[in-house]
Symmetry: C3
Subunit: 342 residues, 3 copies
């Protein structure tokens, strides 16, 4: 990745990614951009039909698109079955990434019985606690705190200021963004003689290979068993995962989702932004939940689920909202009328 310093021809892109090329094979591509902002020498893409009208106005040198959109293009095109995924792969060629040389920064504080692979990078102001292990090629950015009994697998990247509190085990190639906190004590309370009593949180957090965890997201450790993310789970920013939650492989959660304790989410689910899941329920595989929905009970059938009301102009909304209060009385009245009429 990021290995294209001077440019690449359309012919090379076509060959490398198995794409049909329509246009000049020797055309040099020096960068990637959106249809709206692309300039000369830049490659753009068309995946979302919402932006199809931009095809006629773009200054892009070439465009990645579907076969059915190719005729509408006047510039060279690369035809892809999935232009979005294809563009992702091409644009990775132009990504510049921070260099992370192996070694431990002089300011870092590493417990004597922690084990850091010589190929790992440990940044400034990092602390690593007792009995923790940092595997080959892992990158621990500045300001991270790794507590006791943690494992950071091979090729993981903790970008900066990530906290693994205790008993957090990451698989390989996990990427965690700044401000995320994994392994904090879950919110377990029992009322005892008028005062809250903490339930000790003896479990940990297990994160599968290839997971990604967004900025300022929190994942609490389990009370007895572990909190678990299976492989390739994708969490956006500001998400809250309660203790003993389990999330299935390839499931993605958008920003600000809250999942309460002991809830299980299946594989290949998509949870929309700011949705909430109450505790102790189960979602089967392939469930989609739309944004800001509150999931109050288990879901046993794949499909799409929603709650809430549509957005309206406020004055009109107030009238509907007032009627919502009276909805049961209204329904009873209609049932009564129905009886009268029959």
């Amino acid at each position: 990745m990021g290995d294209i310093a001077t440019g690449i021809t359309l012919a090379e892109l076509s060959q490398r990614f198995g794409l049909e090329l329509r246009g000049d094979p020797s055309l040099q591509i020096h960068g990637v951009a959106t249809l709206a902002s692309a300039g000369s020498g830049q490659l753009a893409f068309l995946a979302n039909p919402r932006y199809r009208s931009q095809l006629s106005d773009t200054s892009a040198a070439a465009v990645v698109l579907r076969a059915e959109d190719a005729d509408a293009a006047s510039m060279p095109v690369l035809v892809a079955r999935d232009p979005y995924a294809t563009f992702a792969k091409i644009s990775a060629l132009f990504e510049t990434r921070e260099a992370h040389p192996p070694g431990i920064h002089a300011s870092a504080v590493i417990a004597t019985d922690a084990v850091v692979d010589p190929s790992a990078h440990i940044g400034a102001f990092v602390s690593v606690g007792a009995r923790s292990r940092i595997d080959a090629g892992a990158v621990i950015g500045p300001g991270c705190v790794i507590g006791e009994d943690c494992i950071v697998g091979a090729g993981c990247e903790l970008v900066a200021r990530v906290t693994l509190v205790t008993r957090v085990r990451l698989g390989s190639n996990v990427r965690i963004h700044p401000g995320a906190v994994l392994g904090a004590a879950g919110f377990g309370l029992a009322m005892d003689a008028g005062h809250w009593l903490n339930i000790p949180q003896l479990g940990g957090v297990v994160v599968g290979d290839d997971c990604e965890i967004g900025a300022n997201t929190t994942i609490d450790r389990g009370a007895l068993d572990d909190t678990v993310l299976e492989e390739d789970v994708r969490l956006d920013n500001q998400i809250q995962i309660g203790h003993n939650v389990r999330i299935g492989a390839h499931t993605a959660l958008a920003g600000c989702v809250a999942v309460a304790g002991s809830t299980r989410i299946g594989r290949d689910c998509l949870i929309g932004g700011a949705a909430g899941l109450v505790g102790h329920i189960e979602l089967c595989d392939k469930v989609t939940v739309t944004a800001m929905t509150l999931v109050t009970h288990s879901i046993r059938e794949p499909g799409e689920y929603s709650s809430g009301t549509p957005m309206m102009e406020n004055r009109q909304w107030r009238r509907s909202a007032a009627r919502f209060r009276q909805l049961d009385a209204l329904a009873r009245k209609v049932q009564g009328q129905d009886k009268e009429n029959t």
Copy 2:
């Protein structure tokens, strides 16, 4: 706590916690677990009736449960009036906690006029600002920032990467999880000639004894008076508390709750996850608010309060949502029919 290295007999547990024992008093317990995952030598518990069916399948050596569930158990049991609270106390015996020796880490930066008790623990990369005070036995974990004019009471634990911005006074035995920010300037703005003007935030934050504050939770300092949490208030992760909010003793807020400025919450309240409270309102004592409810006005009677709509399959939901838009017209039509019929 955490003082059981080799195990404890059922007889000792029975005596220590005042529990009726049914079964072999000499049985050794070496750990705690859930009914589903407990193995030999482990103690489990049954509190939530949802898990009662697991009693017949468990491999637990013994179980803590209510008298009415005891007959269904084939293994030794400890009978408790409140199995959940009892289990919390027993499981604390098996908790391993990080050692926090007294003293200040070599890397920490302490203002010359700050006062740190010799029994307090100050971790790596901690900074403590002018005129701040860290009391006996307090633990300040790695990466914490304590600003000016703060007090951290005796026995407090700031786990790691906690920020107290300024004028934050913690009582004793307060526990704060990583990423929490207390005492940031509240969101006070006045529009002045087309440009926002900041309202200076001259107050502080006062946190009572035994409070707990979750990971990445934020509590802003007051504009003139202080923002106040009374004793034993429990805040989960990702909560936002606006300036000049006041929360009564023993009240608990679940994750992702947002409380706008100057709102007052009574004692012994329970606020469900991702609920929102608008500003300048008052909730009396013993109010329960369900998850994702928006509290738009003061509540003067104890009880349970809710807003929102139930989760539905998306296609069906779309039909209800469309009708919500027309709800006022629908109600008027029914009223009109009612008149016609009478």
Copy 3:
């Protein structure tokens, strides 16, 4: 600001801020407070009519208020057209601010090709990455991480533990509160052969002059173009701004708002707490969105918009919620009755 050590007379305040004074011009003011808590020598203010009744009980030495409230006051008053903005300016005189002497703390780690203005303040445990620039008078508080290719404009304040990941350019006088993360990789994913593929996030974040960004707020960097905040945008705490969002000048977002990727918000908008905006939509100028509203489509007319249902006592709410499920059937029945009747 903060330059009033010993007090100021009402005459001076009247002259300095162009306010009509009714009462003793020589009266000394030593501080500011709310009507409810003000003591002798303190100035209070009355702006919100909700607090008008406190005017008769206050012990404030003097009060800033509107002309129409002046007659109800028995103490000296300063008459202001906008008491709230006026009070903000006066109370700034009494604000104590932490001193931030120019220079770089001994513990800070600065890349050799980063440029730090000699008048800037760099606190303890700060790291500044390659090719980044810190301009005149900027304050970088303890524990901040500035990545590569960032610009912190003149007079900016990063209070503490702020992260600028990469390609973040701040205008002048931007204030960012602890825990905020700007420039993390946006949540761009394409499904490719059953496994998520990351879309490289090649853009940056551009923040205009005078913006404010709250504690633990996150602003992702753009995928190709930048994520942009125009001048004087105000973000409260715990807000999530997705990649390629654009927010117009003077717009303010309350706490916990979530804005999904590529959405554009106009100028002079007010977004209420915990509201959500889906991706790829546009809000025109002067739009107000009430708390916890989900904005699911573009808004082309200025005005106030809402969604949701009113808060109710739970038992009553359950009845309305159950009827919401049946709303389409109910409406059809009413339409049928209507036909029968006509």
